[in-house]
């Protein structure tokens, strides 16, 4: 997932955001009720990869007018198949305005210029703050459900996540051994405190070595420093379809595999938009660590 976030353009698209602000805009909080809920939106456009994922899961296809173009690219999107037949927008006003949608969903890092322009043109744009913690996610899903007029569907999804987390928490208490690890992303970025990834590691019973180095949010780390911290496990994000980039060469450096360090590769279906598959990510991490 970080493979995408460290790219500024992509940071705009993801649920699991690169920012480390701890204050959340009011849109996510469950108390804030979305306005204009009286009429059900019939022509919804999304300009965010992860919002597309929720949209496809919670809204009838007939009401989805367009999704973000990256959602159709299997390199980044676990739900690329489902976007077939839908109009793909590139996050440009020219793509969106002529379609005259009645609801436009944007992430907090979507282009601010585009959002301002669309609002000036009197479109209804909802900018969703992206979750930074596990607690945020269920609130985020419920809020999303209300926005698109499927509160009950979102409630089922949120409750199922909460239920799975409860089960996982009970299980975790039995686990004794702590594993030291880094979450190592493209461009040599490690994930520190106040991030969703860090919380996922905690839930999987993994100690994040970045915390010992007082890293908050995301930070590039020198490979030597990483190796000398003696990680037992290095978590990387993988993809079945991988296009070359120097950024991705970082996580393929042969030095990572020395000294009995184990690499855990999270498939893109678990790492790109983690919100709906939270529990699966934790389960996967736990299973992999158990084998260790």
């Amino acid at each position: 997932m970080r493979s995408l976030i460290s790219l500024v353009a992509i940071a705009a698209l993801l649920f699991m955001s690169a920012a480390r602000a701890s204050e959340h805009p009011s849109q996510v909080s469950p108390q804030a009720s979305p306005q204009q809920l009286s009429s059900l939106s019939e022509k919804i456009v999304s300009i965010n990869l992860c919002l597309d994922g929720l949209l496809l899961a919670l809204v009838a296809r007939s009401r989805i007018d367009s999704v973000y173009y990256l959602s159709a690219n299997p390199q980044f999107s676990p739900f690329a198949e489902q976007t077939k037949g839908l109009f793909l927008n590139r996050g440009l006003a020219e793509d969106i305005v002529p379609r005259n949608p009645d609801l436009i969903l944007a992430g907090e890092f979507s282009s601010a210029e585009l959002v301002t322009l669309l609002k000036q043109l009197k479109f209804r744009v909802e900018v969703l703050a992206l979750p930074r913690s596990i607690a945020d996610i269920t609130a985020h899903i419920r809020y999303f459900g209300k926005l698109v007029g499927n509160a009950s569907g979102a409630e089922v999804m949120a409750q199922s996540i909460e239920h799975q987390l409860l089960l996982l928490n009970a299980e975790q208490r039995k686990q004794a051994r702590q594993i030291n690890a880094f979450w190592y992303s493209s461009n040599g970025v490690v994930v520190g405190a106040e991030t969703l990834e860090n919380e996922l590691m905690q839930h999987a019973g993994i100690h994040n070595l970045a915390l010992d180095k007082n890293i908050i949010g995301f930070k590039q780390m020198d490979l030597e420093e990483l190796i000398l911290a003696r990680p037992q496990v290095i978590i990387v994000e993988s993809s079945d379809i991988e296009a070359f980039s120097l950024a991705r060469e970082y996580i393929k450096h042969p030095a990572l595999q020395k000294n009995n360090t184990r690499i855990i590769a999270l498939p893109s279906s678990l790492s790109v938009c983690s919100a709906p598959v939270l529990a699966d990510v934790i389960k996967e991490l736990r299973t992999q660590v158990k084998e260790f």
């Binding site: 995408l4 980044f76 780390m221 296009a243 980039s245 991705r248 450096h253 020395k258 000294n259």
Partner: protein, 332 residues
Amino acid sequence: MQKNTFLYLNISLLLAVAMAFLASLSIGNQAISILQAIKDLYQGNESLHQTVVWDIRLPRVLLALLVGGSLGLAGAAMQGLLRNPLAEPGILGVASGAALGAVIVLYFGFAASAWYWLPGAAIAGAFVALLLVYLLAGSGSSVLSLILAGVAINAITGAMIAVALNFAPSLFALQEIVFWLMGSLANRNIHHVYIAAPFIFIGWFLLLSRYRFLNALSLGEETATSLGFHPQRERNILFVGLALCVGASVAVSGSIGFVGLVVPHLLRPLVGYKPGRLLLVSALGGALLVLLADIFVRQLDVARELKLGVVTSLLGGPFFLMLILKTRSRWI
């Protein structure tokens, strides 16, 4: 007497390179003992010392040596061949031609099919750029027309690199244009050494073996012919050697500019202005310069280190200006 000076110069450069090599292996972000690393390697123990020194630092130091040597040597050879003091792989667009070849095969997935694709494409790119410079400016042409040909080729290849990266499937691609235009040795591993080294060695051999021709050429093409050389054949060999050196280097390090300009110029007076003798010392000098520049960039900001080419350009840019001022009177 002069022969001795040449020998001493080579030995002192070699010693300096060896010292820089060891310094580069020992100085790093983290305090690590090389002795311990050597011991662990010898005893077959897998240890953190060994990983840091042999898997992280060594590839980088070896590449600095290979790439620096290639660029210094290529600069000296181009200046001798084109009989032009401002000839250099970076300035004349040969390096960006190589970068274009590398970018196309890497980012569009061709390089994954076989190891030789990456250096092969970069070498082809360097060769085409070199040929274009030669056709545009010709041998013994004025400094001005050579530089202008270089500016044009640099502009075209630079733009084509941007276009290729723009359409590359990876979303990281466009950001990485800095690597290709500026060059860096960060995060390189031993595979990069393996794929570049064979081509670089052949290139070195071809260039160094032409020292007699370059000496003769400094007296003019006719004199060289009368001395029994076949200029066209010799030139072709030099072209191939240059393309191999520069292409294979750029394929693994991006284009690191100005090494080929600064080093031969500094060393030329020390070898009695003989183009043939300049070759070997420039290779050593280039290796030294890139090794030192690489040690320097690692001291500034460890994780987001400065690109190597930035340092060499900061050194080489003013130097280039100085050369222009010095030779200006001869242009008109």
